[in-house]
Symmetry: C2
Subunit: 270 residues, 2 copies
Protein backbone atom coordinates (compact mmCIF):
# COMPACT_ATOMS: atom_id res chain seq x y z
CA UNK A 1 0.00 0.00 0.00
CA UNK A 2 1.41 3.38 -1.00
CA UNK A 3 -0.04 6.86 -0.57
CA UNK A 4 1.39 9.86 -2.41
CA UNK A 5 0.17 13.16 -1.01
CA UNK A 6 -2.60 11.16 0.62
CA UNK A 7 -3.84 9.43 -2.51
CA UNK A 8 -3.39 5.73 -3.22
CA UNK A 9 -0.91 5.63 -6.07
CA UNK A 10 2.49 4.17 -6.67
CA UNK A 11 4.09 6.51 -9.19
CA UNK A 12 5.57 10.00 -8.93
CA UNK A 13 6.44 12.56 -11.55
CA UNK A 14 9.89 12.17 -13.11
CA UNK A 15 10.16 15.92 -12.52
CA UNK A 16 10.14 15.35 -8.76
CA UNK A 17 13.38 16.66 -7.30
CA UNK A 18 13.65 13.60 -5.09
CA UNK A 19 14.46 11.62 -8.22
CA UNK A 20 16.33 14.34 -10.09
CA UNK A 21 18.71 15.37 -7.29
CA UNK A 22 18.10 13.25 -4.19
CA UNK A 23 16.46 16.41 -2.87
CA UNK A 24 14.50 14.95 0.04
CA UNK A 25 14.61 12.96 3.27
CA UNK A 26 13.16 9.70 4.54
CA UNK A 27 12.27 7.60 7.59
CA UNK A 28 11.98 3.84 8.00
CA UNK A 29 9.86 2.66 10.93
CA UNK A 30 8.46 -0.49 12.46
CA UNK A 31 4.68 -0.89 12.85
CA UNK A 32 3.20 -3.60 15.07
CA UNK A 33 -0.49 -4.20 15.60
CA UNK A 34 -1.32 -0.95 13.84
CA UNK A 35 1.01 1.24 15.89
CA UNK A 36 4.20 2.90 14.70
CA UNK A 37 7.06 2.46 17.14
CA UNK A 38 8.58 5.70 18.46
CA UNK A 39 6.49 7.86 16.12
CA UNK A 40 7.05 11.09 18.10
CA UNK A 41 10.80 10.62 17.79
CA UNK A 42 10.53 9.75 14.11
CA UNK A 43 8.41 12.79 13.36
CA UNK A 44 10.77 15.01 15.32
CA UNK A 45 13.71 13.68 13.29
CA UNK A 46 11.83 14.01 9.98
CA UNK A 47 10.98 17.59 10.84
CA UNK A 48 14.59 18.38 11.78
CA UNK A 49 15.91 16.78 8.59
CA UNK A 50 13.44 18.77 6.45
CA UNK A 51 14.54 21.92 8.24
CA UNK A 52 18.19 21.14 7.51
CA UNK A 53 17.38 21.13 3.79
CA UNK A 54 14.79 23.93 3.98
CA UNK A 55 12.06 21.55 2.78
CA UNK A 56 8.56 22.09 4.09
CA UNK A 57 7.69 19.18 6.38
CA UNK A 58 4.11 17.86 6.23
CA UNK A 59 2.13 18.40 9.44
CA UNK A 60 2.26 15.59 11.98
CA UNK A 61 -1.48 15.04 11.73
CA UNK A 62 -1.35 14.72 7.94
CA UNK A 63 1.31 12.01 8.11
CA UNK A 64 -0.48 10.28 10.99
CA UNK A 65 -3.68 10.15 8.92
CA UNK A 66 -1.81 8.63 5.97
CA UNK A 67 -0.28 6.02 8.27
CA UNK A 68 -3.61 5.15 9.88
CA UNK A 69 -5.07 4.49 6.45
CA UNK A 70 -2.20 2.16 5.58
CA UNK A 71 -2.08 0.44 8.97
CA UNK A 72 -5.76 -0.50 8.71
CA UNK A 73 -4.72 -2.73 5.81
CA UNK A 74 -1.22 -3.65 6.97
CA UNK A 75 -1.06 -3.46 10.77
CA UNK A 76 2.35 -5.16 10.91
CA UNK A 77 4.82 -3.76 8.43
CA UNK A 78 7.83 -1.57 7.83
CA UNK A 79 6.59 1.94 7.10
CA UNK A 80 8.64 4.27 4.98
CA UNK A 81 8.03 8.00 4.69
CA UNK A 82 9.73 10.04 1.97
CA UNK A 83 9.42 13.82 1.81
CA UNK A 84 10.90 15.56 -1.23
CA UNK A 85 11.13 19.20 -2.23
CA UNK A 86 8.48 18.40 -4.85
CA UNK A 87 8.45 19.05 -8.56
CA UNK A 88 10.49 21.66 -10.29
CA UNK A 89 11.87 22.54 -13.68
CA UNK A 90 15.32 21.59 -14.80
CA UNK A 91 18.16 23.07 -12.75
CA UNK A 92 19.44 22.89 -9.19
CA UNK A 93 17.79 26.11 -8.00
CA UNK A 94 14.83 25.24 -5.77
CA UNK A 95 11.50 26.50 -7.15
CA UNK A 96 10.28 29.82 -5.77
CA UNK A 97 7.36 28.23 -3.90
CA UNK A 98 8.03 24.48 -3.80
CA UNK A 99 5.30 22.12 -2.65
CA UNK A 100 6.86 19.12 -1.02
CA UNK A 101 5.81 15.62 -2.00
CA UNK A 102 5.01 13.12 0.76
CA UNK A 103 5.10 9.39 0.17
CA UNK A 104 4.02 6.85 2.79
CA UNK A 105 4.51 3.19 1.90
CA UNK A 106 4.21 -0.16 3.66
CA UNK A 107 6.73 -2.93 3.14
CA UNK A 108 6.65 -6.49 4.48
CA UNK A 109 8.39 -7.09 7.79
CA UNK A 110 11.86 -8.47 7.13
CA UNK A 111 12.56 -12.02 8.14
CA UNK A 112 14.26 -10.96 11.33
CA UNK A 113 17.01 -13.22 12.55
CA UNK A 114 15.31 -14.89 15.49
CA UNK A 115 18.69 -15.74 16.94
CA UNK A 116 20.12 -12.22 16.74
CA UNK A 117 19.86 -11.72 20.50
CA UNK A 118 21.15 -15.15 21.47
CA UNK A 119 23.66 -15.89 18.72
CA UNK A 120 24.60 -12.42 17.47
CA UNK A 121 25.44 -11.36 13.94
CA UNK A 122 28.52 -11.53 11.79
CA UNK A 123 29.65 -8.27 10.19
CA UNK A 124 32.49 -7.08 7.95
CA UNK A 125 34.43 -3.92 7.16
CA UNK A 126 33.35 -2.12 3.99
CA UNK A 127 35.93 -0.57 1.72
CA UNK A 128 33.53 2.14 0.50
CA UNK A 129 34.10 5.22 2.64
CA UNK A 130 31.67 7.90 3.80
CA UNK A 131 32.61 11.37 2.59
CA UNK A 132 32.79 14.18 5.12
CA UNK A 133 30.09 16.81 4.71
CA UNK A 134 29.15 18.63 7.92
CA UNK A 135 26.26 20.44 6.15
CA UNK A 136 24.47 17.10 5.64
CA UNK A 137 25.90 15.00 8.48
CA UNK A 138 23.28 13.18 10.54
CA UNK A 139 20.49 13.94 8.06
CA UNK A 140 18.73 10.95 6.49
CA UNK A 141 18.52 12.44 3.01
CA UNK A 142 17.90 10.62 -0.25
CA UNK A 143 21.52 10.79 -1.48
CA UNK A 144 22.59 7.33 -0.34
CA UNK A 145 24.91 6.08 -3.07
CA UNK A 146 27.72 5.49 -0.58
CA UNK A 147 25.49 3.15 1.42
CA UNK A 148 24.42 1.39 -1.79
CA UNK A 149 28.03 0.88 -2.93
CA UNK A 150 29.04 -0.34 0.54
CA UNK A 151 26.12 -2.78 0.77
CA UNK A 152 26.92 -4.07 -2.72
CA UNK A 153 30.36 -5.19 -1.51
CA UNK A 154 29.06 -8.51 -0.19
CA UNK A 155 26.30 -10.98 -1.04
CA UNK A 156 27.03 -13.68 1.58
CA UNK A 157 23.74 -13.93 3.52
CA UNK A 158 25.76 -15.01 6.55
CA UNK A 159 27.05 -11.45 6.88
CA UNK A 160 24.37 -9.23 8.36
CA UNK A 161 25.95 -5.82 8.12
CA UNK A 162 29.05 -3.90 7.02
CA UNK A 163 30.85 -1.24 9.04
CA UNK A 164 31.87 1.95 7.27
CA UNK A 165 34.75 4.35 7.85
CA UNK A 166 34.84 7.95 6.72
CA UNK A 167 37.41 9.14 4.21
CA UNK A 168 39.74 10.01 7.09
CA UNK A 169 39.61 6.46 8.43
CA UNK A 170 37.33 6.87 11.43
CA UNK A 171 34.55 4.38 12.18
CA UNK A 172 31.11 5.93 11.57
CA UNK A 173 28.30 3.37 11.33
CA UNK A 174 26.92 0.31 9.61
CA UNK A 175 25.47 0.64 6.11
CA UNK A 176 21.99 0.73 7.67
CA UNK A 177 22.61 0.93 11.41
CA UNK A 178 24.36 2.86 14.17
CA UNK A 179 27.17 1.35 16.19
CA UNK A 180 27.82 1.25 19.95
CA UNK A 181 30.99 0.02 21.64
CA UNK A 182 31.41 -1.10 25.23
CA UNK A 183 34.96 -0.45 26.45
CA UNK A 184 35.80 -1.51 30.00
CA UNK A 185 32.29 -0.66 31.16
CA UNK A 186 32.03 2.62 29.24
CA UNK A 187 29.66 2.98 26.28
CA UNK A 188 30.84 4.91 23.23
CA UNK A 189 29.22 5.68 19.88
CA UNK A 190 30.84 7.38 16.88
CA UNK A 191 30.71 11.14 16.47
CA UNK A 192 28.45 11.91 13.48
CA UNK A 193 29.28 15.58 13.03
CA UNK A 194 31.10 14.91 9.76
CA UNK A 195 28.95 12.21 8.18
CA UNK A 196 26.58 9.35 8.91
CA UNK A 197 22.91 9.14 9.83
CA UNK A 198 21.91 9.89 13.42
CA UNK A 199 19.11 7.37 13.77
CA UNK A 200 16.15 7.38 16.13
CA UNK A 201 17.17 4.05 17.64
CA UNK A 202 20.60 5.53 18.38
CA UNK A 203 18.88 8.33 20.30
CA UNK A 204 16.71 5.81 22.12
CA UNK A 205 19.65 3.65 23.20
CA UNK A 206 21.61 6.70 24.37
CA UNK A 207 18.57 7.83 26.38
CA UNK A 208 18.13 4.34 27.82
CA UNK A 209 21.78 4.16 28.86
CA UNK A 210 21.58 7.60 30.44
CA UNK A 211 18.39 6.66 32.29
CA UNK A 212 20.07 3.58 33.70
CA UNK A 213 23.04 5.56 34.98
CA UNK A 214 25.43 4.37 32.26
CA UNK A 215 26.34 7.35 30.11
CA UNK A 216 27.41 7.01 26.48
CA UNK A 217 30.31 9.03 25.11
CA UNK A 218 30.29 10.36 21.53
CA UNK A 219 33.79 10.18 20.11
CA UNK A 220 35.93 9.86 17.05
CA UNK A 221 36.73 6.17 16.89
CA UNK A 222 39.58 4.39 15.13
CA UNK A 223 38.99 0.86 13.74
CA UNK A 224 41.42 -0.64 16.26
CA UNK A 225 39.11 0.44 19.09
CA UNK A 226 36.25 -1.49 17.50
CA UNK A 227 38.36 -4.62 17.28
CA UNK A 228 39.39 -4.22 20.91
CA UNK A 229 35.92 -3.43 22.32
CA UNK A 230 34.32 -5.76 24.85
CA UNK A 231 30.92 -5.65 23.14
CA UNK A 232 29.58 -4.17 19.91
CA UNK A 233 25.93 -3.33 19.24
CA UNK A 234 24.18 -2.30 16.04
CA UNK A 235 20.82 -0.57 16.21
CA UNK A 236 18.16 0.70 13.85
CA UNK A 237 14.41 1.13 14.05
CA UNK A 238 13.61 -2.07 12.15
CA UNK A 239 16.17 -4.53 13.53
CA UNK A 240 16.03 -3.14 17.05
CA UNK A 241 19.41 -4.18 18.42
CA UNK A 242 21.95 -6.73 17.24
CA UNK A 243 25.18 -7.70 18.98
CA UNK A 244 28.20 -8.50 16.87
CA UNK A 245 29.46 -12.04 17.37
CA UNK A 246 32.12 -11.85 14.68
CA UNK A 247 33.99 -9.14 12.77
CA UNK A 248 36.67 -10.45 10.43
CA UNK A 249 38.60 -12.95 12.60
CA UNK A 250 37.58 -11.59 15.99
CA UNK A 251 34.77 -13.28 17.95
CA UNK A 252 32.71 -11.90 20.84
CA UNK A 253 30.36 -13.24 23.48
CA UNK A 254 27.26 -11.26 24.43
CA UNK A 255 27.74 -11.22 28.18
CA UNK A 256 24.64 -10.44 30.21
CA UNK A 257 23.97 -6.91 28.97
CA UNK A 258 22.44 -7.55 25.56
CA UNK A 259 19.24 -9.27 26.69
CA UNK A 260 18.07 -6.49 29.01
CA UNK A 261 18.96 -3.76 26.49
CA UNK A 262 17.11 -5.52 23.68
CA UNK A 263 14.12 -6.05 25.95
CA UNK A 264 13.95 -2.47 27.14
CA UNK A 265 14.32 -1.07 23.61
CA UNK A 266 11.62 -3.47 22.42
CA UNK A 267 9.22 -2.69 25.24
CA UNK A 268 9.83 1.02 25.69
CA UNK A 269 7.23 3.27 24.10
CA UNK A 270 9.37 6.40 23.84
CA UNK B 1 7.67 15.04 -23.91
CA UNK B 2 8.95 12.27 -21.67
CA UNK B 3 9.66 8.61 -22.45
CA UNK B 4 10.19 6.06 -19.69
CA UNK B 5 11.67 2.81 -20.97
CA UNK B 6 10.53 3.95 -24.40
CA UNK B 7 6.90 4.60 -23.51
CA UNK B 8 5.34 8.05 -23.33
CA UNK B 9 4.67 8.55 -19.65
CA UNK B 10 5.73 11.00 -16.99
CA UNK B 11 5.64 8.99 -13.77
CA UNK B 12 7.93 6.34 -12.30
CA UNK B 13 7.43 3.87 -9.50
CA UNK B 14 8.17 5.19 -6.02
CA UNK B 15 10.10 1.93 -5.60
CA UNK B 16 12.62 3.08 -8.19
CA UNK B 17 16.05 3.25 -6.57
CA UNK B 18 16.73 6.52 -8.36
CA UNK B 19 14.23 8.13 -6.00
CA UNK B 20 14.91 5.97 -2.96
CA UNK B 21 18.71 6.30 -2.91
CA UNK B 22 19.88 8.56 -5.75
CA UNK B 23 20.98 5.28 -7.32
CA UNK B 24 21.45 6.40 -10.91
CA UNK B 25 23.17 8.81 -13.30
CA UNK B 26 22.10 11.50 -15.74
CA UNK B 27 23.07 13.62 -18.73
CA UNK B 28 21.88 17.04 -19.85
CA UNK B 29 22.36 17.86 -23.52
CA UNK B 30 21.53 20.52 -26.08
CA UNK B 31 19.47 19.61 -29.15
CA UNK B 32 19.27 21.95 -32.15
CA UNK B 33 17.28 21.28 -35.32
CA UNK B 34 16.66 17.71 -34.20
CA UNK B 35 20.30 16.86 -33.53
CA UNK B 36 21.89 16.25 -30.11
CA UNK B 37 25.18 18.07 -29.72
CA UNK B 38 28.17 15.84 -28.96
CA UNK B 39 26.01 12.74 -28.58
CA UNK B 40 28.92 10.26 -28.96
CA UNK B 41 30.73 11.98 -26.10
CA UNK B 42 27.57 12.09 -23.99
CA UNK B 43 26.85 8.41 -24.55
CA UNK B 44 30.45 7.52 -23.76
CA UNK B 45 30.22 9.45 -20.49
CA UNK B 46 26.81 7.96 -19.61
CA UNK B 47 28.23 4.50 -20.23
CA UNK B 48 31.29 5.20 -18.09
CA UNK B 49 29.17 6.61 -15.25
CA UNK B 50 26.87 3.56 -15.31
CA UNK B 51 29.94 1.34 -15.19
CA UNK B 52 31.25 3.23 -12.16
CA UNK B 53 28.06 2.35 -10.28
CA UNK B 54 27.67 -1.12 -11.85
CA UNK B 55 24.36 -0.08 -13.42
CA UNK B 56 23.46 -1.60 -16.78
CA UNK B 57 23.60 1.15 -19.41
CA UNK B 58 20.93 1.06 -22.13
CA UNK B 59 22.30 0.38 -25.61
CA UNK B 60 23.25 3.43 -27.67
CA UNK B 61 20.68 2.58 -30.33
CA UNK B 62 17.87 2.31 -27.78
CA UNK B 63 18.59 5.76 -26.38
CA UNK B 64 19.04 7.19 -29.87
CA UNK B 65 15.60 5.84 -30.88
CA UNK B 66 14.02 7.43 -27.77
CA UNK B 67 15.66 10.74 -28.61
CA UNK B 68 14.58 10.63 -32.27
CA UNK B 69 10.98 10.18 -31.16
CA UNK B 70 11.21 13.19 -28.87
CA UNK B 71 13.15 15.37 -31.32
CA UNK B 72 10.48 14.89 -33.98
CA UNK B 73 8.18 16.83 -31.67
CA UNK B 74 10.74 19.10 -30.02
CA UNK B 75 13.68 19.59 -32.39
CA UNK B 76 15.17 22.40 -30.28
CA UNK B 77 15.32 21.58 -26.61
CA UNK B 78 17.40 20.53 -23.64
CA UNK B 79 17.40 16.74 -23.50
CA UNK B 80 17.87 14.98 -20.21
CA UNK B 81 18.62 11.27 -19.87
CA UNK B 82 18.34 9.56 -16.47
CA UNK B 83 19.39 5.94 -15.99
CA UNK B 84 18.63 4.38 -12.60
CA UNK B 85 19.33 0.92 -11.17
CA UNK B 86 15.58 0.31 -11.50
CA UNK B 87 13.08 -0.90 -8.96
CA UNK B 88 13.94 -2.87 -5.90
CA UNK B 89 12.58 -3.73 -2.51
CA UNK B 90 13.46 -1.83 0.61
CA UNK B 91 17.13 -1.86 1.57
CA UNK B 92 20.41 -0.67 0.11
CA UNK B 93 21.45 -4.02 -1.36
CA UNK B 94 21.05 -3.90 -5.14
CA UNK B 95 18.54 -6.46 -6.45
CA UNK B 96 19.99 -9.73 -7.73
CA UNK B 97 19.08 -8.98 -11.35
CA UNK B 98 18.23 -5.29 -11.53
CA UNK B 99 16.63 -3.88 -14.68
CA UNK B 100 17.70 -0.30 -15.11
CA UNK B 101 15.12 2.39 -15.79
CA UNK B 102 15.77 4.87 -18.61
CA UNK B 103 14.08 8.24 -18.76
CA UNK B 104 14.47 10.61 -21.71
CA UNK B 105 12.82 14.01 -21.34
CA UNK B 106 12.74 17.27 -23.31
CA UNK B 107 12.85 20.64 -21.55
CA UNK B 108 12.52 24.11 -23.07
CA UNK B 109 15.74 25.79 -24.11
CA UNK B 110 16.80 28.19 -21.37
CA UNK B 111 16.70 31.88 -22.09
CA UNK B 112 20.39 32.01 -22.82
CA UNK B 113 22.10 35.26 -21.96
CA UNK B 114 22.64 36.68 -25.44
CA UNK B 115 25.39 38.89 -24.08
CA UNK B 116 27.33 36.14 -22.31
CA UNK B 117 30.09 36.20 -24.93
CA UNK B 118 30.34 39.96 -25.19
CA UNK B 119 29.55 41.10 -21.65
CA UNK B 120 30.41 38.05 -19.57
CA UNK B 121 28.69 36.78 -16.43
CA UNK B 122 28.87 37.68 -12.80
CA UNK B 123 29.52 34.80 -10.36
CA UNK B 124 29.96 34.34 -6.61
CA UNK B 125 31.63 32.00 -4.16
CA UNK B 126 29.32 29.44 -2.55
CA UNK B 127 29.73 28.56 1.10
CA UNK B 128 28.38 25.01 0.59
CA UNK B 129 31.37 22.72 0.09
CA UNK B 130 31.75 19.59 -2.01
CA UNK B 131 32.64 16.52 0.05
CA UNK B 132 35.59 14.41 -1.04
CA UNK B 133 34.64 10.97 -2.32
CA UNK B 134 37.08 9.48 -4.84
CA UNK B 135 34.73 6.51 -5.48
CA UNK B 136 32.14 8.86 -7.01
CA UNK B 137 34.30 11.77 -8.18
CA UNK B 138 33.63 12.86 -11.75
CA UNK B 139 30.45 10.77 -12.03
CA UNK B 140 27.22 12.64 -12.76
CA UNK B 141 25.09 10.62 -10.35
CA UNK B 142 21.68 11.55 -8.94
CA UNK B 143 22.97 12.49 -5.44
CA UNK B 144 23.21 16.22 -5.99
CA UNK B 145 22.12 17.75 -2.70
CA UNK B 146 25.38 19.69 -2.38
CA UNK B 147 24.70 21.38 -5.72
CA UNK B 148 21.12 22.10 -4.66
CA UNK B 149 22.22 23.67 -1.38
CA UNK B 150 24.90 25.71 -3.12
CA UNK B 151 22.50 26.97 -5.80
CA UNK B 152 19.96 27.87 -3.11
CA UNK B 153 22.47 30.31 -1.59
CA UNK B 154 21.49 33.11 -3.96
CA UNK B 155 18.39 34.28 -5.82
CA UNK B 156 19.77 37.46 -7.45
CA UNK B 157 19.18 36.83 -11.18
CA UNK B 158 22.19 39.04 -11.90
CA UNK B 159 24.45 36.28 -10.59
CA UNK B 160 24.76 33.54 -13.18
CA UNK B 161 26.71 30.90 -11.28
CA UNK B 162 28.39 30.05 -7.99
CA UNK B 163 31.86 28.56 -7.58
CA UNK B 164 32.29 25.69 -5.14
CA UNK B 165 35.25 24.59 -3.03
CA UNK B 166 35.75 21.12 -1.63
CA UNK B 167 35.82 20.52 2.11
CA UNK B 168 39.62 21.01 2.02
CA UNK B 169 39.26 24.46 0.48
CA UNK B 170 40.25 23.76 -3.12
CA UNK B 171 38.30 25.20 -6.05
CA UNK B 172 36.40 22.46 -7.90
CA UNK B 173 33.69 23.79 -10.22
CA UNK B 174 30.53 25.85 -10.58
CA UNK B 175 27.26 24.46 -9.26
CA UNK B 176 26.38 23.40 -12.82
CA UNK B 177 29.54 24.05 -14.82
CA UNK B 178 33.26 23.33 -15.07
CA UNK B 179 35.85 26.05 -14.60
CA UNK B 180 38.94 26.98 -16.63
CA UNK B 181 41.60 29.52 -15.64
CA UNK B 182 44.05 31.28 -17.89
CA UNK B 183 47.26 32.13 -15.99
CA UNK B 184 49.97 33.98 -17.91
CA UNK B 185 49.06 32.16 -21.11
CA UNK B 186 48.67 28.73 -19.49
CA UNK B 187 45.24 27.08 -19.20
CA UNK B 188 44.40 25.21 -16.00
CA UNK B 189 41.27 23.38 -14.84
CA UNK B 190 40.63 21.89 -11.38
CA UNK B 191 41.58 18.33 -10.60
CA UNK B 192 38.34 16.33 -10.15
CA UNK B 193 39.80 13.16 -8.64
CA UNK B 194 38.24 13.90 -5.26
CA UNK B 195 34.88 15.37 -6.20
CA UNK B 196 33.01 17.28 -8.89
CA UNK B 197 31.47 16.33 -12.21
CA UNK B 198 33.76 15.87 -15.20
CA UNK B 199 31.50 17.26 -17.91
CA UNK B 200 31.49 16.58 -21.62
CA UNK B 201 32.01 20.26 -22.44
CA UNK B 202 35.09 20.24 -20.17
CA UNK B 203 36.47 17.36 -22.24
CA UNK B 204 35.65 19.23 -25.45
CA UNK B 205 37.39 22.41 -24.35
CA UNK B 206 40.46 20.48 -23.21
CA UNK B 207 40.54 18.71 -26.58
CA UNK B 208 40.11 22.00 -28.42
CA UNK B 209 42.93 23.62 -26.47
CA UNK B 210 45.20 20.65 -27.11
CA UNK B 211 44.36 20.68 -30.83
CA UNK B 212 45.26 24.35 -31.02
CA UNK B 213 48.64 23.77 -29.38
CA UNK B 214 47.64 25.27 -26.02
CA UNK B 215 47.64 22.48 -23.47
CA UNK B 216 45.50 22.60 -20.33
CA UNK B 217 46.91 21.54 -16.98
CA UNK B 218 44.77 19.72 -14.40
CA UNK B 219 45.71 20.89 -10.93
CA UNK B 220 44.60 21.42 -7.38
CA UNK B 221 43.65 25.10 -7.29
CA UNK B 222 43.39 27.46 -4.33
CA UNK B 223 40.79 30.26 -4.41
CA UNK B 224 43.53 32.92 -4.56
CA UNK B 225 44.62 31.57 -7.94
CA UNK B 226 41.12 32.07 -9.30
CA UNK B 227 41.07 35.68 -8.09
CA UNK B 228 44.48 36.26 -9.71
CA UNK B 229 43.75 34.54 -13.04
CA UNK B 230 43.83 36.54 -16.27
CA UNK B 231 40.64 34.97 -17.61
CA UNK B 232 38.02 32.58 -16.19
CA UNK B 233 35.70 30.43 -18.28
CA UNK B 234 32.70 28.33 -17.26
CA UNK B 235 31.46 25.58 -19.56
CA UNK B 236 28.65 23.09 -19.73
CA UNK B 237 26.74 21.40 -22.53
CA UNK B 238 23.77 23.74 -22.37
CA UNK B 239 25.38 27.13 -21.82
CA UNK B 240 28.38 26.40 -24.05
CA UNK B 241 30.99 28.77 -22.65
CA UNK B 242 30.70 31.83 -20.41
CA UNK B 243 33.52 34.13 -19.36
CA UNK B 244 33.46 35.61 -15.90
CA UNK B 245 33.30 39.39 -15.88
CA UNK B 246 32.96 39.71 -12.12
CA UNK B 247 33.63 37.56 -9.05
CA UNK B 248 33.02 39.34 -5.76
CA UNK B 249 34.86 42.67 -6.21
CA UNK B 250 37.21 41.61 -8.96
CA UNK B 251 36.40 42.48 -12.59
CA UNK B 252 37.80 40.97 -15.77
CA UNK B 253 37.89 41.81 -19.47
CA UNK B 254 37.46 39.04 -22.04
CA UNK B 255 40.48 39.81 -24.18
CA UNK B 256 40.42 38.33 -27.67
CA UNK B 257 40.39 34.63 -26.75
CA UNK B 258 36.77 34.12 -25.71
CA UNK B 259 35.10 34.76 -29.06
CA UNK B 260 37.09 32.17 -31.02
CA UNK B 261 36.76 29.55 -28.25
CA UNK B 262 32.99 30.05 -28.03
CA UNK B 263 32.70 29.87 -31.80
CA UNK B 264 34.77 26.70 -32.12
CA UNK B 265 32.88 24.95 -29.28
CA UNK B 266 29.59 26.02 -30.86
CA UNK B 267 30.51 24.91 -34.37
CA UNK B 268 32.52 21.78 -33.60
CA UNK B 269 30.66 18.53 -34.11
CA UNK B 270 32.81 16.36 -31.86
Amino acid sequence: VILIDGRPQAHISVLDRGLAYGDGVFRTMLARAGAVRSWPRHFHKLHADCLALDIECPAEGVLAADMREILRVEPDCVLKIIVTRGCGGRGYAPPFAPESTRIVAAFPLPRLRPDAVTVGVRVRWCSTRLSIQPALAGVKHLCRLENVLARAEWTDPGIAEGLMLDTEGRVIEGTMSNLFLLERGQWVTPDLSGCGVAGVQRDRLMALLAASGASCAVERIAPARVMAADLLLLVNSVIGVWWISRLEERHWQPGDLVGPIAQRLEQGDD
